[in-house]
């Protein structure tokens, strides 16, 4: 199977294009997107608020802590991650109030959104392995995106979100496609169908991302990166964010996908030219691979 250019943990055969059932399925999913009826998953309230709230004066640490308290699984994740080596707390963080006060809203946003996804916003039975890879790859992309942003003096916090959410359309589409396949009597477990569904999700991820990002009221640069990272030139005023996401995704794949380890590093990725990054600067980014791996491990643990 393949999930397009963003890579997959394992290879599988693709669908037969002559399969009329698959064509119907593809058409049905495309129609949902075009009609604006793609079922956008609800994020936990705290994640939604944190995504939207940095400019909302009514959002304070106490309120955020109270919101996280309502979701025990999320609360546990936040505390675990806040105490992980990546966030280097000088003293153990033992309460949510303390975590929010110490970490600040922007870091809490990163952790809560990350933890929310891990806690099962996306559940697609039969595709757990692929979802786990997508999540690891998204985290790696987010980490590389921060490094690219530092190099180009772009906003580092937004870059993290661009990377984290750039392929969020894929699991949503997987869910929709699997449900639709079941309703149509297709056997989702067949290798051909699995491959077709993954291909479909990768191909339409940008368009799905637009629906999701709009519903989640994401900042315009993040939304642009979700929609246009595969073709950054189309991102208008946010071409830099789309290009950095594209470059970061390629670097993350090279770093985290064991099947890609033998391939040459993606130093000829066209996004480097769009970002005006020279070959030695691209090499410098690749040298951050170990720290990116560590961050991914601490967040997926």
């Amino acid at each position: 199977m393949s999930v397009g250019t963003s890579a997959a943990p394992a290879k599988s055969e693709s669908a037969s294009p002559s399969d009329s059932g698959l064509a119907v399925l593809t058409n049905a999913v495309e129609q949902l997107i075009v009609a604006g009826k793609l079922p956008v998953p609800l994020l936990p309230q705290v994640a939604t608020q944190l995504l939207q709230a940095t400019n909302d004066e009514s959002t304070d640490a106490g309120r955020v802590a109270a919101l996280i308290h309502r979701d025990p699984a999320l609360a546990g994740q936040v505390l675990r991650i806040a105490n992980s080596p990546s966030y280097q707390p000088r003293m153990p963080i033992v309460s949510l109030q303390q975590a929010v006060a110490r970490l600040g809203l922007s870091v809490m946003r990163e952790i809560a959104v990350s933890a929310s996804f891990q806690n099962g916003v996306f559940k697609v039975p039969g595709f757990e392995k692929e979802l786990a890879w997508m999540w690891r790859h998204a985290l790696g992309t987010a980490a590389f995106a921060k490094e690219v942003a530092r190099l180009r003096r772009l906003n580092v916090e937004n870059a993290f979100l661009c990377g984290l959410l750039h392929r969020v359309g894929e699991p949503v589409l997987l869910q929709v496609a699997v449900n639709d396949a079941k309703r149509s009597g297709l056997v989702a477990a067949s290798p051909a169908l699995r491959g077709a569904i993954l291909d479909l999700a990768a191909r339409l991820a940008g368009r799905a991302g637009e629906s999701i990002g709009t519903a989640w009221k994401l900042p315009p640069p993040v939304l642009a990166a979700m929609v246009h990272h595969a073709a950054p030139e189309a991102a208008g005023p946010h071409v830099q964010e789309a290009a950095l996401t594209s470059v970061a995704a390629a670097l993350a794949r090279h770093t985290l996908d064991e099947s890609a380890a033998a391939e040459p590093p993606p130093l000829d990725h066209p996004g480097f030219a769009l970002l005006n990054l020279y070959p030695n600067e691209a090499m410098g980014l690749l040298a951050r691979a170990d720290s990116v791996r560590r961050l991914v491990e601490s967040l997926t643990g």
Partner: protein, 471 residues
Amino acid sequence: MAAPERFDVIVIGSGPAGQKAAIQAVKAGRRVALVERESGVGGECVRRGTIPSKTLRESAAAIARLRRGADIFDAKVGAGTELTRLLTRLDRVVNAHVSYMTDQMERNGVAVMKGRARFASPHVIEVEDVRGQVRSLVADLIAVATGSRPRTPPEIPVDHEFILDSDSILSLTYLPESLAILGAGVIACEYASIFALLGVQVTLIDKAERPLRFIDAELVERFVGSLTKNGGRFLGGHGIKEVAFDGVSRVTTRLANGETLSTEKVLVALGREAAVDGLNLEAAGLAPNARGIIDVDEHCRTVVPHIYAVGDVMGPPSLASAAMEQGRRAMCHALGLPPGAPAEMIPSGIYTVPEISSVGLSSEEAKRRGIPIIEGRARFDQVARGQISGIDDGLLKLIADARGRKLLGIHIVGDGATELVHVGQMAMFAGADIDVFIENIFNFPTLAEAYRVAALDVTEKRAALPVIQAA
């Protein structure tokens, strides 16, 4: 590699100095290559320096104007406001500027090459493009105009997320609740006044006892007063011992006296250094001096006679206006063209809120050099326009010779200072007496009337001078 492409002149860097050097050379009929490492011409001035910061300043200045009418308007901006909302016109301004400059280069036949330049020999420049492709250029004459970049002491860990420099400060998404600014030069003071007006708790920290030490102390006092009034503060006489991100959300700045300051962000504005990395100056027989800049003579010529260095790469005054003139004059000298009378009076314009601008002799310099002077002052609230606009922090100072006749310097703080200074600069250039401001008519009501008030102050003081009888 193919044989080098031949040009008469190669200019490295397309900022203000490089542009003017290239245009001067091409207008003199030379074949010119202009090498720029970024994707568009204009240099740091356009992308990360003058133009972006002045665009943000416009938002801050608008708030300052609204606050003067506080009875009517309630102008509040605070932590959490999206910075992009305060920079709405930036893309348009930058694109227009880059487009204008690109057109100018094309129209004049300058060959613009995108890539990083390095000397392969004193006359040969290798240009590596962003894909790693290298081409060689050769020329009789070379101008280095690669500009400068923020200077960061190695002990300060700038991460461009919590500890920022002047290149990354405008990448912030939201206004922080608090900001410590290290340094007290032009960039530090400009950002301090802008962010304070935007509602950020600003602390300006420097080892010097006062900011902007090259500016008249009376003007600086008014600037500090205005900063304080807007909620900022200046901590003078404090060295920085350590700056450390706490690993989560705050930055701690430890001062040499043991005090600590915790802020959401820190801006490091401790000066700029020449951007000469990667130029391989050694291959040209050049080397940066101990201060990291390229030494030049009065014509901006380096020790290698056919290589010139112009703009920030040769050090102060680090003003775009001066850099343009250096580029033009250097090329005139190199090509044997008359450059015109040297510009002895370079005005300095500081885009703080309120603005500060000076040209010519200052009171402190006169004292240091033992030159007797008479000062004339006018506060902006002494002229109708200042009263109408509610400007209570403006001051115009004229420096006259000991007889109170010859105009030696002009120093202004307040709205419009960077424009107003040119009135006095032209009077100085024309060799006019102080009385020119009294004997001529100014529009009413205008801030330029402050010239008349200050000139009258000088004439009153000179009238009180003892009359010296001829022997």
